[in-house]
């Protein structure tokens, strides 16, 4: 796992999404933790549509770790 891990658990959109977009400006790659389906969907969709990035969904279940790399 990369060093850059952002914890967005417990937050609902748009906050995790804003955090992901901000992190994209700072780090070449990072992992963001979310714990709701909507934030997971949003981040995956926006990363793909806006930045052409395929998000790697690391673990499924109650929480998600989304690995994002430019």
């Amino acid at each position: 796992m990369e060093n850059n891990t952002i914890d967005a658990r417990g937050l609902s959109c748009p906050q995790p999404l804003i955090m992901a977009v901000d992190a994209l400006k700072k780090y070449p790659s990072f992992t963001i933790l979310v714990d709701n389906e909507v934030s997971k969907e949003n981040i995956i969709r926006v990363m793909k549509d806006k930045y052409g990035i395929e998000v790697q969904l690391k673990n499924d279940g109650e929480e998600y770790a989304l690995a994002i790399a430019k």
């Binding site: 937050l11 609902s12 748009p14 999404l17 389906e37 969907e41 109650e62």
Partner: protein
């Protein structure tokens, strides 16, 4: 595709369903340009419970109950029903209250703003401009780290409490239980509160709404917010589809009447139509969802959204008991003070509730 309704086609389909069912409900008996208005219907709901005594707007709208139940059922089925809460509940209550006060100055929630426009009511343009302005201000706060703090998952089924309340209230409503001769449950005998579809039709239509919108995450506030924050038009596709389909339905069904004057359950005070919705837009965006979306989230187990909904009930009570709610005659004497107070409250919350993210 894991969740078709969350896709681009899915959100358009959701907009289509809302845009057709809402005016159909008007056609079948709900008040004009109010097929499903969450603010108006929660106001009627609060009246039915006796939280306010505006006799013309007391009816326990089964649509409100249905949206919560629909979202509850589908989220259980899809394993998305997660009991959670604890993110600044009292602030959310206050935001719900002020959101309702603003909505009742304009006379409608964002859904009704769209339905009013779809019915040809051009006053809605000023409401939608206000809504957009409020959401824009909130977007600036959000981009600067605004947060009401994180929620925590509950180990217990605390998220079932709110849907359970709704089921109990539906039973009281459908059996027309009267607790005392002059007591609740109240039913309007005239006015908008007396205009309604068959309760079962309202309930079933709203359950369908709740199910589809839970899957698609349809949100009118989010549609505008996402444009400002990340220039993302995903949710907006749903809202535009809703407007277009409702307009076409109204044109065909003879429910379209273009103009500013003599619109149903509306007034033509441009400034306060605008500012009322600035307040609502701000409050919805700071709380993370339009009133319809808050009902869906409450059904999914989000207690913070349930608290926001209760805040809206309280706001309806305040709006009518303190004579802040508009009528077709126009706004009231004290409405401007309440709206300004609400905007100040939201701005203070926006500036103070900030979190530094790493």
């Amino acid at each position: 595709m894991k969740n078709f309704l969350a896709s681009s086609k899915g959100i358009i389909l959701s907009g289509l369903v809302v845009g057709l069912i809402a005016p159909l409900l008007q056609f079948l008996g709900n008040p004009p340009n109010m097929g499903i208005c969450v603010a108006c219907f929660e106001r009627d709901f609060a009246g039915a419970l006796g939280l306010h005594h505006a006799a013309v707007v007391q009816y326990m709208r089964p649509e409100i109950i249905g949206i919560v139940i629909g979202a509850f059922l589908i989220s259980l089925l899809k394993k998305e029903n997660i009991s959670r809460g604890g993110s600044s509940p009292l602030i959310r209550f206050a935001l719900g209250m002020f959101a309702m006060i603003g909505a009742l100055v304009f006379l409608g929630c964002p859904w009704r703003a769209i339905l009013r426009l779809a019915g040809g009511d051009l006053n809605a343009v000023f409401g939608i401009l206000g809504l957009t302005t409020g959401i824009f201000i909130a977007s600036l706060f959000l981009n600067n780290g605004f947060s009401l703090g994180r929620a925590y998952k509950s180990e217990h089924k605390t998220g079932w409490i709110f849907p359970s309340f709704m089921i109990v209230l539906f039973l009281l409503f459908i059996f027309k239980v009267k607790f005392a001769e002059q007591g609740a449950i109240f039913f309007s005998s005239k006015g908008p509160g007396a205009m309604h579809v068959n309760p079962w039709i309202g309930l079933v239509a709203a359950i369908i709404f709740g199910m589809i919108l839970q899957r698609s995450r349809f949100c009118t506030m989010g549609a505008i917010r996402d444009l400002f924050i990340i220039k993302d038009s995903h949710l907006l596709k749903g809202v535009v589809t809703m407007l277009v389909s409702a307009t076409i339905f109204n044109l065909i069904a003879g429910q379209f009447n273009l103009g500013l004057e003599n619109q149903p359950i509306a007034h033509s005070n441009i400034l306060w139509n605008f500012l009322g919705m600035v307040l609502s837009g701000l409050a919805f965006a700071l709380a993370g969802g339009c009133p319809g979306r808050q009902l869906i989230l409450a059904g999914e187990g989000d207690n913070d959204s349930a608290v926001f909904v209760l805040g809206m009930f309280a706001g309806a009570a305040v709006a009518h008991n303190f004579s802040l709610a508009s009528s077709p005659k126009g706004i009231t004497t004290f409405a401007p003070y309440a709206v300004i107070l609400g905007i100040i409250f939201c701005i203070i919350i926006g500036f103070t509730m900030r979190k530094k993210f790493n």
